[in-house]
């Protein structure tokens, strides 16, 4: 079983020639021709609907969506004023998560608005992460590639594909900025990235404070950096999650290739923890972005100026 990362153009060939031969398990390895088990950097296609390609990561995400729908419907149907059994657990999770969010935001109003999104992010990422380590790795397809027969697993964590983590990161950052627009207004949010206020200040404050000629361009530059920072946030969020989950899958495959029994067990447990931690990091960072977006820095400066003026007057 080889575990090399294949970044060839095999994907495109697969798209053009999706010759699915059979569903298989790992026991089919010892057939007359050797089947390669490669952990690829991208999600492999498993079906095509016209021009739309369904990858194994997307398929896993659909399973995750289904699981969450089933759990949510079960909660909705079983919900009672006097909680019993599983409702206690869900209430404990919701309550604990809300308290944690309150500690991060320090503002119940922000928590109330951001919590549903942050919790959805956490659940989606967590179950996706765990789906990558469920023992269904043997379920898949055997396809013909230019290097011979290749095994394509049906289950691959949705977060072990950059196409899965990128939309999450984009939605998080975009959502945070939208939240900022609704919290502090469009003008203030816009000025965070294109500081027209500082530019305008050159003309209005130059007589009072000539230093504005020096500070205003710096502020404009800093705001431009903020704009770049938003893209950096998307990149860091998506690649951190993708890298960790993909590395975990490669690690598990490598350990299983060395010794199939017992050796992967501690690493499986490690990956369970990594799954939780990565989901937690993603969710908390999203919450932090929401909190930052809801804060008006100008107001703080204005308050400081006002306090200084008051102190000066006394």
């Amino acid at each position: 079983m080889s575990t090399t990362i294949n970044n060839s153009n095999q994907y495109n060939e697969n798209l053009e020639n999706p010759s699915v031969e059979a569903f298989t398990t790992e026991s089919t390895e010892n057939t007359h021709e050797e089947i390669s088990h490669e952990a690829t950097l991208y999600a492999e296609p498993i079906a095509h609907f016209g021009s739309f390609t369904v990858t194994n990561a997307l398929f896993t995400s659909w399973i995750v969506v289904l699981i969450i729908i089933v759990i949510s419907i079960a909660i909705r149907l079983k919900i009672k004023k006097v909680p019993k059994g599983m409702q206690n657990l869900f209430e404990m999770i919701i309550d604990g998560a809300t308290n944690l969010c309150n500690q991060v935001t320090n503002d119940e109003r922000v928590t109330r608005k951001a919590f549903p999104i942050v919790f959805a992010v956490f659940m989606f990422v967590l179950i996706n992460n765990w789906m990558g380590i469920v023992p269904l790795g043997g379920l898949g397809l055997i396809e013909m590639t230019e290097h011979g027969k290749a095994f394509i697993p049906l289950i691959r964590s949705g977060t072990a594909d950059i196409n899965g983590t990128l939309p999450l990161a984009i939605l998080s950052v975009l959502g945070a900025n939208l939240f900022g627009v609704f919290s502090i207004g469009l003008w203030k949010t816009f000025n965070k990235y294109v500081n027209l206020k500082a530019l305008g200040g050159i003309f209005t404050k130059i007589r009072k404070d000539p230093m504005v000629l020096l500070t205003a361009p710096i502020m404009v530059f800093v705001s431009a950096l903020e704009l770049i920072g938003e893209f950096a946030k998307i990149a860091s969020l998506s690649f951190r999650l993708f890298g960790n989950v993909f590395a975990g899958e490669v690690l598990l495959a490598s350990m299983a290739a060395l010794i199939a029994y017992l050796l992967p067990t501690p690493f499986l447990l490690l990956e369970v923890m990594v799954g939780v931690i990565q989901a937690f990091i993603f969710a908390i960072l999203t919450l932090v972005y929401y909190t930052i977006a809801s804060q008006d820095h100008d107001e703080e400066h204005d308050e400081k100026d006002h306090a200084e003026k008051l102190a000066g007057a006394h």
Binding site: Y42, S61, I69, R76, L168
Partner: protein, 164 residues
């Protein structure tokens, strides 16, 4: 950029599909799990707070009722004591009155009894005298063996009466 896209096989269609997946997850979780759970949890919190407040108020009401009850009981006891004392005094007075009345009545009865006895005694004495006179007359007649006339009889009878 192209090498980045080809290396990671970035496909905008899959990105949109994954974004839709997340939006579905968010909507489902929000409307079927988070919102109803939060609602029921806040309702429960309100119920518990109301219950605690009611319990406090009830405890206060019970305490006040207990105090009022004790006050009423103490007042009733005091009043009962006063009534009892008054009743006792009244009963004693009545008892004394009854005893006095009874004494007077008994004394009256004794006096009347005495009088009746004396009258009876006098009547008996008179009757005895009359009988004695008659007996004496008869005895005298017999002794003298002579029949005296009626005038003599009366004279004798008068003399016998006067003897007394």
């Amino acid at each position: 950029m192209d090498s980045f896209i080809s290396t990671f096989h970035i496909d905008w269609k899959i990105i949109i599909a994954q974004a839709i997946n997340f939006i579905i997850v968010f909507l489902v979780l929000y409307f079927l799990a988070i919102k109803p759970l939060k609602k029921i949890m806040s309702e429960r919190t309100e119920t518990i707070e109301k219950g605690l407040n009611d319990a406090k108020e009830n405890a206060l009401v019970i305490e006040n009722s207990r105090k009022e009850y004790e006050k009423v009981i103490n007042d009733a006891r005091a009043e009962a004591h006063v009534i009892f004392q008054e009743g006792k005094k009244e009963a004693e007075a009545k008892k004394a009155q009854i005893l006095e009345d009874a004494k007077v009545q008994v004394e009256g009865m004794i006096a009347s009894g005495k009088k009746t006895l004396e009258n009876e005694k006098a009547r008996m004495v008179d009757e005895a005298k009359t009988e004695i006179v008659s007996l004496v007359v008869k005895a005298t007649e017999k002794l003298l063996e002579q029949t005296a006339d009626s005038k003599l009889d009366e004279k004798l009878a008068k003399q016998v009466k006067d003897i007394k």
